[in-house]
Symmetry: C2
């Protein structure tokens, strides 16, 4: 049911989502929705948690490895691009970021969803921030405010994923790594590495 | 009617938008929708055109002035932040970018809206690109690919506006100018200016 709801939200957004459609896609009897969830908001929160739980594993794997800090960020961008490319190959279109989508669509409507999305983006920024701090300690990044820099890196990621979706083209994601180095004031001599 | 539709789209997204609600908000008789528009898609396109037409005037004013190129970009970000702040003061919440919202919500549903949004973002990137090219000609930016850099600047703008909306806080937009200088490889000695 969560999978069905996530697929439908990615395709059509949340507001347009009907409970009958969710049940049909999930293959459960129409009308059984309230057996599982007390409201569409509760379902949306469960979809967010499920999606972040899966995504966070990948972020942890890439950002908490033994590689040098900047290389860990690079792995994160490569994984993001690979995910979008795989999604495009399997369903024909590049999907946006579920969190970005729901922020733009829902965050002015329900406080519970806004708070959950804030927590998720806070967690992403904190994870990047920790790596940026390590890079700075090694003299590989020169940025003054590591938290602001981390937020800018995540903002750049959201913006480029939006373009990848709009143009149905993952190529714009190639710029993420070089832009990240620029935003961090990285001291790496060769940015193309 | 366009104003009513834009307000409702900013609040609730496009999919959830009902024609009766548009007519009620616009103060026109329910059922007169099809006198004005042949479909909701046609209305959405008209809202996009109207919004871009207004926004483009501001972009032109800021990006085609006599000021040095990088200062013109700075003016654009200051205007973006001032707009969001004014919106927050008048309606309590920071609104997202209408184009970004509709990209995430609608671009996988209707080709006409996807194409129009592509044209609008293409135009924004071209306008920034022209200024970046001037800055590079003056030796004030070092970036190799001015078009890719311009797209990254617009992506950063979209991402930070998304955060401003999510956290209902325009402060994240303060980072736009410094980030723009970093993304362009600007040679300005003092980035805090």
């Amino acid at each position: 049911m969560l999978g069905a709801a996530q697929t439908l939200i990615e395709l059509h957004g949340c507001s347009a989502l009907g409970m009958a459609e969710i049940c049909r896609t999930a293959g459960v009897p129409k009308g059984s929705f309230y057996y599982f969830f007390s409201s569409k908001e509760e379902l949306a929160l469960a979809v967010l948690d499920e999606h972040w739980s899966a995504l966070r594993s990948g972020w942890n794997r890439n950002l908490r490895s033994d590689a040098p800090p900047l290389q860990r960020l690079r792995k994160l961008f490569e994984a993001t691009e690979a995910d979008r490319r795989a999604g495009q190959q399997s369903c024909g279109t590049v999907s946006g970021c579920l969190f970005g989508n729901l922020t733009l669509e829902m965050s002015n409507q329900t406080e519970a969803i806004r708070e959950r999305l804030q927590q998720i983006f806070d967690a992403q920024v904190d994870m990047v921030d920790a790596v940026v701090g390590e890079a700075r300690d090694r003299g590989e990044a020169t940025v003054a405010d590591t938290h602001e820099a981390a937020r800018s890196v995540v903002a750049q990621l959201e913006g480029q994923v939006l373009f990848a979706k709009l143009y149905n083209n993952t190529q714009s994601l190639d710029a993420l790594w070089g832009n990240c180095l620029a935003l961090l004031g990285a001291t790496t001599p060769d940015r193309s590495v």
